[in-house]
């Protein structure tokens, strides 16, 4: 599969737009939850972290690609969803009255960010939310690329992480708060000459000597999908070649290569 990356967006500690990615991160960098202008001010207060993060990164990527936010279809993804809301729900339900906030409940659906984006932009195209825990980054990229190559329609990929609070952090660690977005288009007819091209091959994943699938590197945090995509986005931002491998299942992987035309 071969596609063009025509736009990208990012939000993380010390990063409020793509060009800041090149700046060295500093220890004191804090993540403020963005206030994307696409969301009306009266809705911002009720919009949870994952929605605000996703809409911000998505808006940046569409602007960079010159894509109409009202028309492009989208794939949203996260390894854990909105951990803030999961923690709130489980804490409240462990109590005696079990009275949940209706707004927080309807925002607990994992497609809340995708829904928020479609409502904010009046976008009636299909959107989806995919999760694959430790394989979320690769599966979200794979699903977007299949959509682009099989339907020849531009697709917006948005990946979010929300820092893990409360008891949930005993299980998953503290995590991080970040969002990344890419606009992916078919190639070459519809893309600008300068867009980086991403080639991906689906391959059988090599097995170790005892026949079990190779395991992920020990430094890898399964709960952080943005971290795994960060090097690719950084290469897009800096227009430098890059290659890497994403796991999709116990026996399959996506071998990705980014090339730039200059």
């Amino acid at each position: 599969m071969r596609v063009a990356i025509t736009g990208a967006g990012a939000w993380a500690a010390g990063v409020s737009c793509l060009t800041e990615m090149a700046r060295p991160q500093e220890a004191g960098d804090q993540v403020a939850i963005p206030r994307p202008s696409a969301i009306p001010p009266r809705e911002l207060r009720r919009s949870p972290a994952a929605s605000r993060l996703g809409v911000e990164a998505a808006s940046q990527a569409c602007a960079a690609a010159g894509q109409d936010p009202a028309g492009i279809r989208s794939v949203f993804a996260s390894a854990l969803g909105d951990s803030d809301i999961t923690d709130y729900m489980c804490r409240t339900l462990a109590g005696s009255d079990k009275l949940l906030s209706p707004t927080r409940f309807h925002n607990s659906v994992h497609n809340a960010a995708a829904g928020c984006w479609s409502i904010a932009c009046k976008n009636t195209s299909p959107n989806t939310f995919v999760a694959a825990f430790e394989h979320t980054a690769g599966m979200a990229l794979f699903e977007s690329m299949v959509m682009v190559t099989s339907d020849l329609a531009p697709t917006l990929l948005v990946v979010t992480d929300v820092a893990v609070p409360g008891a949930l952090a005993d299980i998953h660690g503290a995590g991080t708060t970040a969002a990344l977005a890419l606009v992916i288009e078919s190639t070459p007819e519809s893309t600008q000459d300068v867009a980086p091209l991403l080639s991906c091959e689906l391959e059988a994943r090599p097995k170790s000597k005892d026949g079990t699938p190779a395991s992920a590197p020990s430094s890898f945090d399964p709960a952080q999908a943005t971290a795994e995509l960060w090097p690719l986005i950084k290469a897009v931002a800096e227009a430098t070649p890059w290659s890497g491998t994403f796991q999709l299942g116990t026996e399959s992987q996506l071998v990705a290569r980014l090339s730039t035309i200059h």
Partner: protein
């Protein structure tokens, strides 16, 4: 910069349906669901879910209460995964997967499952049993406490190593798995896909829908004047999909339509715009006219808003009405599993010709602009449709047909 316009194309992606099964409040396996539909026997009961005192009715899968995961999977234990495991053993489904596994190789078979709850019930239990504010060792299950728990479990339980993901778009989740799988098959990236949906009873869902005042204290009454909300149900269902050209299979996914309302997080578009466009797109991709459809399994949740807008959408698409009913008063609203239960019900109509009516519909709401089927009937049609509509304005309509 001037925006370039984006016109999403809607290509037809089809797939052969090689095997399918279900477990719901109506029983375990296709035959039990058929029998319940044929006899008009609801699977609903008064709420007896532990630790919930809500006055409502629920669709509980009794067989899941005593079901246990085999030893290799014990660390993945949750009610949701037990329900998945239970259904995988029904109607020869796991044998059908073993057969294609030997044919294509485990790395060439994908897994796409839909859920809204995933194993959140297990996370609730972890929070209710904290020890000194910490999660107890028995609940240290990172592969369970995340939205993908069911995809992870099913891939391992079936020994599949291909691309594996979970779609979680609320109540349209396990409708959308069919469209995604058909795209993968068309793109040639896999040779077969296990699709399905699993949602399980839990406090989040029961008390969440109660907070929105959408839960009925009685058995739900879809499309009735007196309808006043949903009954939550749990269910698991699966289908094995192969490329369209595969020989020897009787039924296929003939078309699918996915849209967004772009209207409200928890309310459908008042004119049913998104549902209408999803149905129209499903017909277009199937290359069919409305009159070709012999039955529509409706989302039909029995909330005041869903039923009036879905009826309006139906009336716009099916200007000459075809039989259409809601089966939610049999199974409850199974949320993330609603798409697969609707699909299994639609396939049952194709296979048997028995068209279920709408259980508990006694006085059709005069504000509904479509004549929803009250009693059962029969059809010889080669095509059926099912709708699943979710929070966030996420809509999916599927068309299944007899292969020509």
């Amino acid at each position: 910069m001037q925006n370039r316009s984006t016109t999403a194309t809607h290509r037809a992606h089809r797939a052969s349906v090689a095997a399918w099964t279900q477990a719901s409040a109506c029983g375990s396996g296709r035959a039990q669901l058929h029998e319940a539909l044929q006899n008009g026997c609801s699977g609903l009961r008064q709420n007896d879910y532990p630790d919930s005192q809500l006055d409502t009715w629920i669709g509980r899968v009794e067989d899941a209460d005593s079901h246990r995961l085999a030893e290799p999977f014990a660390s993945l234990d949750s009610r949701n995964n037990r329900l998945a495991d239970l259904a995988l053993g029904l109607d020869g489904f796991d044998d059908a997967v073993i057969a294609v596994r030997e044919q294509f190789g485990t790395h060439r078979i994908g897994v796409i499952l839909g859920t809204s709850t995933a194993s959140i019930g297990r996370t609730e239990s972890a929070y209710a049993s904290l020890e000194d504010g910490k999660v107890a060792p028995i609940f240290q299950q990172p592969q369970v406490h995340n939205p993908h728990s069911v995809g992870h479990f099913v891939a391992r339980r079936l020994g599949l190593g291909g691309p594996t993901m979970t779609i979680s778009t609320a109540c349209s989740s396990s409708g959308k798995v069919f469209g995604a799988a058909a795209r993968w098959l068309d793109a040639g990236v896999v040779d077969a896909v296990v699709v399905g949906g699993v949602d399980s009873l839990c406090l989040s869902i029961l008390h969440g829908f109660a907070s929105l005042e959408l839960v009925s204290t009685r058995q739900c009454r879809p499309f009735d004047t007196e309808r006043d909300g949903i009954n939550i149900g749990e269910a698991a269902g699966f289908a094995l999909l192969l490329p369209e050209a595969s020989e020897g299979y009787e039924y296929q996914l003939a078309g699918s339509g996915e849209t967004s309302d772009a209207w409200h997080m928890a309310q459908p578009h008042p004119e049913g715009r998104g549902a209408r466009d999803a149905m129209q797109r499903a017909l277009d991709t199937a290359g069919l006219l409305p009159v070709d459809i012999g039955y529509v399994n409706l989302h039909g949740t029995a909330t005041p808003a869903n039923d009036v807008t879905e009826a309006r959408a139906l009336a716009d698409v099916f200007t000459s009405p075809v039989p259409a009913s809601s089966t939610k008063a049999w199974t409850g609203h199974t949320l993330g599993a609603a798409g697969i239960i609707g699909a299994v019900t639609a396939l049952d109509v194709l296979a048997t010709g028995h068209v279920p009516g709408t259980l508990n519909l006694q006085n059709p709401d005069p504000d509904l602009v479509y004549p929803v089927q009250q009693g059962s009937t029969t059809t010889q049609s080669d095509h059926v449709m099912c709708n699943s509509l979710g929070f966030g304005g996420n809509n999916c309509s599927l068309v299944f047909g007899r292969k020509g």
